[in-house]
Amino acid sequence: MSAWLLEPLRYAFMQRGFLAALMVGIVCAVVGTYVVLRGMAFFGDALAHSILPGIAVGYLVGGGDRGVLFWWSLGTAIVAALGIGALSRRTQVKEDTAIGIIFAGAFALGIALISTVRSYSVDLAHFLFGDVLGVSPADLRLMALFGAAILFVVFFAYDAFLVVSFDPVFARTLRLPVGFFDSLLLMLIAVAIVVSLQTVGVALMVAMLITPAATAYLLTRRLLAMMGVAALLASLAGVIGLYLSYYFSVASGAAIVLVSTFFFGLAALFAPERGWLAARRRRPSAHT
């Protein structure tokens, strides 16, 4: 058993993969807690997809250099986050329609740009579905740096995010700059997405944000506990997913998301208060 567990760790690329999966899992889970509580899942999905043109330009400009790619993604993500945020506040069409149009358009632009390069099908797949086993030490350093920055901001703005998310009108009577914290949160989501890009790619990104957080939501009754449980579940899913990927040759991003989804299924059924079984027990059928 232990040989089975240790075997993948002999490879440096697997070690880096595990570290990346852990970091991404924790950062996405913490930020994802707000995504779930504020009902921003669609926004997160749209944002992840909207980064693709930025990735494409970074890819074309940098000739495949990971550092260049990272900074282009980060810039695009922040612009897209604030842009979509502004868009959703004032549009003529419904908010989700507006977001949908912009995100599909941006995504198409990204694909169009990447398709101008000859080897595009291979590279596009990396951007769409991630390549956790191709993470370099330099990538890891950037992920650690920005991941730590995100956790730092969440730690310091914890109370403010809590009030602004739970009761924005009350937050305004406390004269908190609600708009500022809303934008800050959008930026945190954007950075978390960029940090996670290599691990799961844009297509499955939303799962990293919402699935562990939603699972934790079913199991906890305080925000801090929800964050902790979400981070734990996400780390676990990352590690298990990578083992599955190694031994069964499954795409790593997909494996991680599938494990996460499995956890959610278990919680949805068996969570002590909010699970399906608990709800059934509370409401016995009318025949009894």
């Binding site: 009030v163 305004r172 009577t173 406390l174 004269r175 939501y217 009754r221 925000l223």
Partner: protein, 283 residues
């Protein structure tokens, strides 16, 4: 929602305005609020004295919630001026806004204690943890509304009356001198209403000024110093016998009110509490 002008100094709260001596607790002058083409409030003017308890009554869509939010400094008026202790409301943190219960997500992972502690956020600072003093204030607030034993509950496990009392505890923890309550009694059974009315009696002793919107005209008449009858415009403002006159009530409620003549007075029964499909927006 429209966004008010913000002074840079007040970005993280800043130093909040001092109470000017001699100024009314609340002065509303010619306040008009529009939602697009729709007039929510039209030229509303009145003043409130310290420690008064005012009931705001009127049909659905009359602008009761809007009025409370304008006073809270959450919605900037399109015309007119609101002053709290002589300054604009958005420079004060002594105003507590108690929302309708439907305003928040009751499944949110947060305990009663955490919600009440939000009232202390301004006191202990945005980036600092609560101090011992803050915990004492929270516990005292919970005791006042008789919710100590519920402190560790997730908020979704509370009854309607308990939810409302939790919000009032948050306002108490805030140590507000002006409390704005948006329909705290609506949808509660009589014992739960009575509990909240008893808390209002406590607030009266502490000279906290209260503005409360309600659908219950009789309760408003019995328990409050003055009534403010609203239907977009201010129809009447004064003691119950001055406000609950058939002609004024007819003007406010139109056909949606039944007037029942009693021995000594006219009993008005508002139908609007359950009215749906109103054309006007009450937000």
């Amino acid at each position: 929602m429209r966004r008010g002008k913000r002074r840079p100094a007040a970005f993280f709260g800043g130093p909040h305005a001092l109470h000017r001596p001699g100024a009314d607790v609340l002065s509303v002058q010619g306040v008009t609020v529009r939602y697009g083409p729709h007039l929510a409030l039209e030229a509303v003017s009145f003043t409130v004295r310290r420690g008064e308890q005012i009931a705001i009554v009127g049909p659905n869509g009359a602008g009761k919630s809007t009025l409370l939010k304008v006073i809270a400094g959450v919605i900037p008026p399109d015309e007119g001026v609101v002053q709290v202790y002589g300054d604009e409301p958005d420079r004060h943190v002594c105003i507590a806004y108690v929302p309708q219960r439907s305003a928040v997500d009751w499944r949110f992972p947060i305990t009663v204690y955490d919600v009440v502690m939000m009232g202390r956020l301004r006191k202990h600072g945005l980036f600092r943890p609560p101090r011992h003093e803050d915990r004492l204030k929270v516990e005292a607030a919970l005791a006042t509304v008789d919710m100590v034993s519920m402190a560790r509950r997730q908020i979704g496990q509370l009854s309607g009356g308990q939810q409302q009392r939790m919000f009032i505890a948050r306002a108490l923890a805030q140590e507000a001198s002006l409390m704005l309550m948006d329909e705290p009694l609506t949808g509660l059974d009589l014992p739960a209403q009575e509990q909240i009315l008893r808390i209002l009696d406590e607030l009266r002793k502490a000279e906290v000024t209260v503005l409360l919107s309600t659908h219950d005209l009789e309760q408003a008449a019995d328990r409050f110093d003055r009534l403010l009858l609203l239907r977009r415009r201010l129809i009447a403002f004064g003691r119950a016998e001055e406000v609950l006159r058939p002609d004024l009530l007819l003007e406010a409620y139109g056909g949606r009110l039944r007037l029942v003549p009693m021995a000594d007075r006219v009993l008005a029964v508002a139908d609007s509490c359950c009215g749906h499909g109103e054309t006007e927006v009450d937000r």
